[in-house]
Subunit: 216 residues, 2 copies
Amino acid sequence: MQSVKPVLHTYFRSSCTWRVRIALALKGIEYDQVPVNLIKDGGQQLFSDFSEVNPMQQVPSLQIDGISLSQSLAIIQYLDETRPKPKLLPEDAKKRAYVRMISDLIASGIQPLQNLMVLQKLGEGERLGWAQSCITKGFHALEKILQRTSGLYCVEDEVSMADLCLVPQVYNAVRFKVDLTPFPTIARINQALMELEAFNVSHPSRQPDTPPDLRA
Amino acid sequence: MQSVKPVLHTYFRSSCTWRVRIALALKGIEYDQVPVNLIKDGGQQLFSDFSEVNPMQQVPSLQIDGISLSQSLAIIQYLDETRPKPKLLPEDAKKRAYVRMISDLIASGIQPLQNLMVLQKLGEGERLGWAQSCITKGFHALEKILQRTSGLYCVEDEVSMADLCLVPQVYNAVRFKVDLTPFPTIARINQALMELEAFNVSHPSRQPDTPPDLRA
């Protein structure tokens, strides 16, 4: 089955999908994209054909090796275990735990709280403040943790799954106009990562489904 | 360092902590508990000494082997990699991906949305309905996925990390009075798991910090 190109259901601005696009780029895996516009037509993720692909009605979803996977960290770890070069989780168990801790802090502790579903529930006037407070609270914790674990990147000097979570979350923070001044370690690592090609080609401003006015 | 007993910062009713308590029980790991009451004193997780343990100000946190870990799935996978019996992630990469997908669907896709911080943000009259709708939406997806992956338990016939996420989430669903009738697979697996000792001894009604009126 590995000769069939993987298919990624994607939305240019989805931070969870961006995580997976970085992994695919770092590992040099060719894939086809099927865009799922989360805004248009009342949300194409709610269409019944996509619900068959991912019952959770969220991107990303990756069809690969004859199976259909959703949840970005599950996808990234499957890619890492089946296409191990370059490794996105360190060999050492403690460092791997730090990578997962940082990844989950973002993927469970920050991103879901500033996601579309929660923002739609809140009133128009409350959305920005809520998103800012969730991200700021999470970043205060993340900054402290990264001061202990980081080298060039989130966990020492190798790019890991934690970095794949960090950059899209910083992108969201900027979108929501979060003041990054209190987070020098986060800002430094983000800047170092954005110099890498895989983080650039996968950027929301450079996807096939990026609207023309948002292209870089 | 492995001769020092691990220390779990815990709250009896925290579903994320219950996941870790099940892992510790299944693996027969002895540990000490430090209760952190999320309600009392305005939330003891906000105290500065606990913020040093976990800057995210959430339980669980596990001090083990000379390091301090937070995020339940990172903790469980660290335990599984350093104390592999019984294994909580299958050997096969695709099955492992299913285990992580189901775990993340609950840990990132459901639990954070019905967590304390979001509920406190919503008005008194909106909380129950919101929690119910988040859990119900997630359970519809989970039910479909489990129909494909489950045997006796979430992924075939071995207890895995996915099961450690399922049972506490069903407990939350019951607390929030979610109708489980549309989810026969979830209900069946939950019932099978609750027959296992590790899921019982770790139950919120049987912890050292369980208030007397909530004890089973």
